[in-house]
């Protein structure tokens, strides 16, 4: 053996002696150097390019191996639930929409669904199909931002710009139907705010024609990239039972093998009319979480296509004038319509007393809205059960014992949205 070989094998020996299992830091002493390993607590501050939003992690490291993670949240706590108690039922919709700020239609759907259940009002079929179209478009938009920012964390910067380009198409569709790109206030109690304009269906079909090809392109770039594969395959797996005991739902649970999806298990808003599959992973590592979400984009495109094909005619909001505003042209001719309009705008409709918990499937898991009403025109308690808040508890189980770079990748695959976590 040459001198170089001897040195190499010494290095390799030391490298191989690092195990990822718990090592007693006191007893581990390097013989050739006078160092001892100690635990280092690092503050991944609320301002960090790789945390998705203002998440603070107190990470205890032993070398490069993560030994414990404590998330500290509350840096974007907005008091949404308290503010919503102060407003009439339909005025609370924009407040609640801003909770999970990437899937704003889902927040609105959960809240509006809860209020509709309390009121026992029926949503017309056309409104249900329009809701499904917008929900699935929002799901694709949310997954695109997740893909872009996660790829940015892993180092693939160009995917970020491609995903933003696709998201612009979706935001154009939202602007067409409701006038705003984000937080559109499009879902109202009883249906949707306005019927879609002429040209929306064609533009949406253009989008659904283009999207699968683009998603193929992202797959082609990322799935053959050795760095992405090595960082994602086999890192930080977690089995389905631990995830279930932690209350984790959504793509994280599906990546671990449990095909739980509320759109199939407990369909709401006509989801049972559509034919789509649920992508499920096998191992539950980061690569499965990534693949499940990318596959969901294709399924959402299918749902949108089917909804556009089968869009029924009919009213876009319930015809019950005690809940939904009458159309403007009626105000000129009918006194009753005027009185209804006045009552709804000044005081709002009253909801019979009761408590309801309404769950839906958001891009991150089970998003539910708990509404308690005491008979007046303002809700007495609105609580949003946010999926990211509960999923964050799984981070320490997933990433403990792995390298810090794997922790970054796991945080990216967890898809936390701090607006939902902090509310």
């Amino acid at each position: 053996m040459t001198v170089a070989d001897q040195q190499m094998s010494e290095y390799r020996r030391r490298e191989q002696s690092i195990t990822l299992s718990q090592v007693d830091p006191e007893g581990h002493r390097q013989s050739d150097e006078d160092t001892h390993e100690e635990l280092l607590t690092l503050n991944f501050g609320p301002h960090h390019p790789a945390t998705h939003g203002v998440l603070r992690l107190l990470v205890t490291l032993q070398g490069e191996v993560v030994r414990s993670i404590k998330p500290v949240i509350g840096y974007v706590h907005t008091g949404i639930e308290k503010t919503a108690e102060d407003k009439a039922y339909w005025k609370a919709i924009p407040v609640v929409e801003r909770m999970d700020y990437l899937s704003y239609y889902f927040n609105a759907m959960a809240y509006v669904g809860a209020v509709e259940t309390l009121l026992e009002v029926e949503v017309p079929k056309r409104a249900q199909y329009l809701r499904v179209i917008h929900l699935e478009l929002n799901r694709i938009a949310s997954h695109l931002i997740w893909l872009g920012t996660s790829a940015l964390d892993l180092g693939a910067v160009s995917i970020f710009l491609y995903c933003l380009r696709e998201r612009e198409l979706i935001l154009d569709l939202f602007e067409m139907s409701s006038g705003a790109r984000m937080h559109t206030r499009y879902f109202q109690v009883g249906g949707v705010m306005e019927d879609i304009p002429v040209g929306f269906v064609e533009k949406a079909r253009e989008f659904t024609k283009v999207m699968p090809a683009r998603a193929d392109q992202y797959g082609a770039i990322l799935n053959s990239n050795q760095i992405v594969l090595q960082r994602l395959r086999g890192t930080c797996p977690l089995d389905a039972e631990t995830l279930l005991s932690l209350g984790v739902t959504g793509p994280l649970l599906r990546a671990a093998g449990n095909p739980w999806d509320l759109r199939k298990a407990a369909p709401y808003s006509s989801y049972d009319d559509f034919d789509f599959k649920i992508p499920v992973g096998t191992v539950g590592d980061n690569y499965d979480r990534f693949a499940v979400r990318v596959a969901e984009i294709y399924e959402s495109v299918k749902i949108i296509d089917q909804a556009l094909d089968g869009l029924p005619e009919g009213p876009h909001i319930t015809t019950d004038r005690k809940i939904a505003l009458p159309p403007r042209h009626e105000l000129a001719t009918s006194m009753e319509a005027l009185i209804h309009h006045f009552k709804l705008v000044t005081e709002g409709f009253r909801v019979p007393p009761g408590e309801i918990y309404y769950p839906i499937e958001s891009p991150r898991g089970e998003l539910a809205c708990f509404v308690r009403s005491d008979g007046s025109s303002k809700p007495a308690r609105v609580h949003m059960r946010d999926p990211s808040f509960v999923n964050l508890q799984a981070l320490s189980h997933m990433a403990e014992g792995s390298y810090i770079a794997d922790m970054i990748a796991t945080l990216a695959m967890l898809d936390p949205i701090l607006g939902g976590i902090d509310r």
């Binding site: 301002h47 939003g53 974007v76 949404i80 801003r98 700020y101 984000m182």
Partner: protein, 228 residues
Amino acid sequence: MEIKRETVRSSAPTGQGQGGVEIDSSGLRVNKHDAKELLRGAELLGPTAPASMDGEELERYVHERVLTTTLEKAVSWGRSNSFFPLAFGLACCAMEQFQTAGPRMDIARFGFEAFRASPRQADLIILAGRVSIKMAPIIRRLYDQMLEPKWAISMGACCSSMGVFNNYALVPADKFMPIDVHVPGCPPRPEGLMHGILKLRKMVQDDPDAGWRERYDARGTEEILPGA
């Protein structure tokens, strides 16, 4: 001035190893190091030009061709065209900030795409999103860590005023740090944010768009209170 013309022997070997290549330097542009001659326009005005210009004509000739400015203006021009924004997104406005950096409303064509992660390297902080009471001291610390000259844009209604959430949990950004431009919107469109950033650029170039009442012919719209 004498110009020696000679054939230049290039020392770069060709593929066949045939040695240098002969170049006839009469076709090469020869640098005239005589500025006076250049200014006198001996080359540019053509063969019929007078050999020299003096006095007023020369001054006018120079004025037309040389850009004069003050150092501050030049520095402000440089600063304003290369803001390094801090990669700092709080909530929903951060999503529209991403879209501003995206392909359609490309912030890079103005020179601002270098989003820095470290506040020491950034000079523009765009507060994108709602500022809660837990986050306010941290943002102040970030702002203090930025080096002079630094600017702040408050993006969206939540940090400019309280926005949608006028409650116990939020703080308007004006309360703890000086803001240069407030951009309204919830969230502001990328065009809106761009308008705010370009307004800041004009402010930095010492040419702020004050006097909007004159521009929009809005004299006579001031509120006159009794006793004021």
